[in-house]
């Protein structure tokens, strides 16, 4: 599987649904720190340019606040793409985060698990 398909598979997102409205970028608290903006992230995936994403700062600047996921009118949800890119990078570096049996004790029932995973991935690097 190539990288783009891997991103699509991990995120479950079809980036072609994006209508380029920019609501993600408008919502993003880390916008100014990002070299590739959230809405551009989608375009990069569409254009098969995963290399650039991997080398960007953005992947690590996303706070996983999920505002873009909440608000995206087209279910494209760039946050998921960014998270997927991050996951691919981590896998490449051979860094698995926590071991599976450590997790349950740490869980708060009310917290979205995806957010947790995303945060773990990010801050343990």
């Amino acid at each position: 599987m190539n990288k783009v398909d891997e991103i699509k598979q991990i995120s479950g997102v079809n980036p072609l649904k994006c209508m380029k409205c920019g609501k993600c970028s408008a919502s993003c608290p880390s916008f100014n720190e990002m070299d590739i903006k959230p809405h551009q992230f989608v375009t990069y995936v569409v254009n098969d340019d995963v290399e650039a994403l991997a080398n960007s700062k953005s992947a690590w600047k996303c706070l996983s606040c999920f505002a873009c996921i909440e608000r995206c009118p087209r279910n494209v949800q760039p946050g998921k793409l960014i998270d997927a890119a991050r996951q691919i990078l981590i896998r490449q570096r051979g860094q698995e985060g926590l071991s599976a049996d450590e997790i349950p004790a740490l869980l708060d029932e009310d917290m979205p698990q995806q957010l947790l995973m995303s945060a773990f991935r990010k801050y343990r690097r």
Partner: protein, 662 residues
Amino acid sequence: MRRIGVFVCHCGSNIAATVDVKKVVEMALLEQGVVHAEDYPYMCSEAGQSRIAEAIREKQLEGIVVCSCSPRMHEATFRKCAERNGLNPYLVEIANIREHCSWIHKDMQEATEKAVILMRAAVAKVHLNAPLLAGESAVTKRALVIGGGIAGIQTALDIADAGYHVDIVEKEPSIGGRMSQLDKTFPTLDCSACILTPKMVEAASHENITIHTWSEVEKVSGFVGNFTVDIRKKARYVNMDKCTGCGICQEKCPSKKPLNEFNRGLNNRSAIYTPFAQAIPNVPVIDASACIKLNTGKCGICEKFCQAGAIDYKQQDEIITEQYGAIVVATGFDTIKLDKYGEYAYNESKDVITSLELERIMNAAGPTKGHLERLSDGKAPKEIVFIQCVGSRCSDDRGKPYCSKICCMYTAKHAMLIRDKYPDTNVTVFYIDVRTPGKNFDEFYRRAVEDYGVNYVKGQVGKVAPQPDGSLLVHGVDLLENKQILKKADMVVLATAIEPNPDVRKIATMLTASIDTNNFLTEAHPKLRPVESPTAGVFLSGVCQGPKDIPETVAQAGAAAVKVIGLLAKDKLKTNPCTAKADELRCNGCSQCANVCPYGAISYETKQVNDHGIREERRIAVVNSALCQGCGACTVTCPSGAMDLQGFSNRQIIAEVDAICR
């Protein structure tokens, strides 16, 4: 055994060049029942048809097969020819040996073999064809229009002008609809009321139009040409004949709590009210839930002040029943609820409003008497942000997947009007795309930008955050500059998606008219029959069929009227005889067929039958041939084969199958 004649057309060389027509004739003569077969260069010509006529007479033909071009070309021609010569037109079958044979095959032997098989299938079928007679049904020369907005009014006027009586049923106290709530209209900026009210008056005074306001359709039965409709006239508590429309009751009414629907709830009205000054009829209604007298028995002030003695607290809902030949649905739209869009703070801040609310604010009869001011503190806004596509083009469950079509233009209109009247107010429009296909539309939008200095920013707004100082912080983005924008605004206007009036689902069910996943009524054909519902006799006008602006609505309203006039102009309706028919001895009365009928053409009756000596009461399906369009969905659903389609019967199709496979 029927006496069949087979006529093989050369179509010049179109057929004869690849199909050995003589061979087809020769083979036809070997088929069972074929007593005559011949070929001719052009069967459809006058001379060709006269050969058919002659054969019918001389050979006493009881069925005809024409091997020629597609039935889509000349089936009607040959059917008429048969009818002129005393043969039922439905005893004609076409074997398509041109489009389906000679034109696609090169090898003469192969094409001839296939032509023979197609001829055989047609002969096998025609042996089983039944002589069918197109039925007739009378037409009630009166139309019903459901909905009294601009679409309904225009349709009614056009039908009435053609000399047919029309009833308009409107659930609000006045006709006028959404258009009456608008201030100005794009792209000409005419005053909406100035162009609408003359039409409302015309409708009210038209001798062929009866208006039932404060009324709803309760029940519909019947079929094209013969609908019977129950209309509920809700209790108004005001005698329409006596009321003079002086308005004193509204002035004196002590109950001033109810939200004013006409002003989108931005201010209040009295319990007895007319929705707006130019209402038609200019007769108020009493809002029973807010009326003190009706709720507590005390008060009665309006009655006391009414010099005409028109107030009648004892009035009851009334059901009237009318007959119609055609029904037009013109139920219009509403804006969607914004509860799911927390990020725009619509429910939090009074200064975040929808565009329709802005129309009311800008209108001289509106809650602010036409002054542009913030509803929170009455101050004039200096920074206004418009947000496009709120709830439109959304594939999530918060909004609608379609484009609402009118927002781009009315936002340009609003922006332009504000900049014109309040030049020191800045206007910013956040947009995804600006869509302006329409006469003078793009020019209009460019004027807003070029002549009025409206600031268009490509990018959607992510969040509107009310600030402690009463301002609104708009988190937007400029995608062209690739910059995030934080903008302080005094007022935010949301171009809210529109959706069909929620009542339409109920109405569509009553009419057995189909509806799509977005609750828009489905047209009979998306391109070729855009103003007709697939249910015969039901027509569509305005936004109930799909988003559209006023000029389009009026155009469609006119088109719907023409279709209605065309229908009502007929004394009798010829019905397609190729309809479904239930064999009462085989029918189980199980209702499965009715479940798949798109036209509501199947009903059930309990009937005494004599099934070869067994006499009993049975529940039996009955097809209304005026409603049935002959799709055949029911025939396959029927497990016993009781339901069959005339002209395409089970045995006919099986005969064709057998002939092809033999």
